[in-house]
């Protein structure tokens, strides 16, 4: 059973060729879908960074009610499936405001990623030694100056690798926006699959696009990390 028969090898070869051709033929429509995927990911992570920073600061505020608020938010995000969150945003937001599918998906993803980014920031802020804030305070800097000028720049740098990781997770999770009708990568793949009665080919095509995007992201994050390491 370890070896393929000649027939099977031939079939595999033909399948690879077929997917390659599908990849090439559909590049226009998948490029469109990729742009939507990137927009969903980039905008939602951008918003999530602010949400995350806000809740991270609540968590380290040493003010109990604020810590509770942050903990409840994180508990809700972690304790419910992302697809449920996206649908709640979709039905909830379209109910109260004229808001597009794109924005309800983006805000749903931002709400979700914000909780994980809050934990990333909390960890990186707390990893900066107490001596740093004491040095700032002993020079007469106030709490917010010490936070913004001394602690956060160092914490951001330490947060970069896990943030890059979260960005990649966010990119893949954006595929769930297909369920509220967005024609992003996964959505286009399933539509093409349904139309051609050949789901496998189109899912694999979308997988290739995701892999390329993740590879590019990994390279970009690595380059940024290197650039920020000048002071080491």
């Amino acid at each position: 059973m370890l070896f393929f028969t000649l027939e099977e090898l031939k079939e595999l070869y033909l399948n690879v060729i077929k997917i390659g051709e599908a990849l090439l033929d559909s590049r226009g429509i998948f490029w469109e879908a990729t742009q939507l995927t990137l927009a969903l990911t980039a905008v939602s992570i951008f918003i999530a960074i602010f949400i995350g920073l806000f809740f991270a600061l609540l968590k380290i505020s040493n003010i109990k009610p604020l810590e509770y608020v942050a903990n409840i938010y994180i508990f809700i995000v972690r304790g419910t499936p992302l697809i449920v969150q996206i649908f709640v945003f979709y039905y909830g937001l379209t109910e109260i405001a004229m808001i597009s599918g794109f924005w309800s998906a983006t805000l749903g993803l931002a709400f979700h990623n914000g909780a994980y980014i809050a934990e990333i920031f909390r960890g990186s802020i707390q990893s900066i030694g107490k001596g740093q804030s004491e040095a700032g305070r002993s020079l007469g800097m106030n709490r917010s100056q010490t936070m913004t000028r001394i602690i956060l720049p160092q914490a951001f740098r330490r947060a970069l690798p896990p943030l890059g990781n979260q960005f990649i997770i966010g990119l893949k999770d954006s595929s769930l926006a297909a369920f509220i009708g967005l024609a992003e990568l996964f959505g286009v793949a399933t539509t093409m699959g349904a139309n051609s009665f050949d789901y496998m080919t189109w899912l694999l095509v979308s997988a290739v696009w995701y892999l390329v995007l993740v590879l590019l992201l990994t390279l970009i994050v690595g380059a940024i990390e290197k650039k920020m390491a000048v002071s080491d």
């Binding site: 004491e134 040095a135 700032g136 020079l139 001394i150 002071s231």
Partner: protein, 246 residues
Amino acid sequence: MSENKEMIRVEKLNKSFGDLHVLKDIDFTVNESEVVVLIGASGSGKSTMLRCLNFLELKNDGKILIKGKETDPKKDDLNKVRQRVGMVFQHFNLFPHKTVLENVIEAPIQVKKLKKAQAIEEGKKLLAKVGLADKADEYPARLSGGQKQRVAIARSLAMKPEIMLFDEPTSALDPELVGEVLATMKELAQEGMTMVVVTHEMGFAREVADKVVYMHDGRIVEVGEPNELFDNPKEVRTQEFLSSIL
């Protein structure tokens, strides 16, 4: 050296961490331009004492007066008080994401709202003073321990403090680097800076200090001029401590 004008007066200072009573009825004064060296075993409360003087720790009880004026942490702006009281730490605590010069100009620009050009000019002068003019654009990670501590001193001086506190400034240094930091501190003392120094460098204390304070278990046991305290300690505990470190 001392002109007997009071810079710091501490009266009946008490400080606890939870149930741990760390400073007990501390009384002492530092006059203008005086150098006071604090000695004592590890855990005797020396660091806590210094940290109370610039309000990194808040006292539970007692008074701290700077130039005759009492500071009330509830009413007074502690950031203002801390601008007048510089502090140098055992582990330097330089800002690693900033260059040497950026470390020095940060607080003058942010806190004193100094123009950047002026802050740079003054910062460069201070770096020259501590012998590090050529390191202005280096990051701290590239410096030796002795150089880091001299940058930390320059950073503190940039705020033009009236008092400088040093908490074991040479304890984290390789022995061959201790001298350069002590030399910088000695120069500062000769220029008339008021200094409170926690150190185990008895040579420095003998040469530079006007007064040595021996602390034990949260209390001041003995105060005296260096030669008098080192050569003829009056208290038994001071004698024991001195013989244990020699």
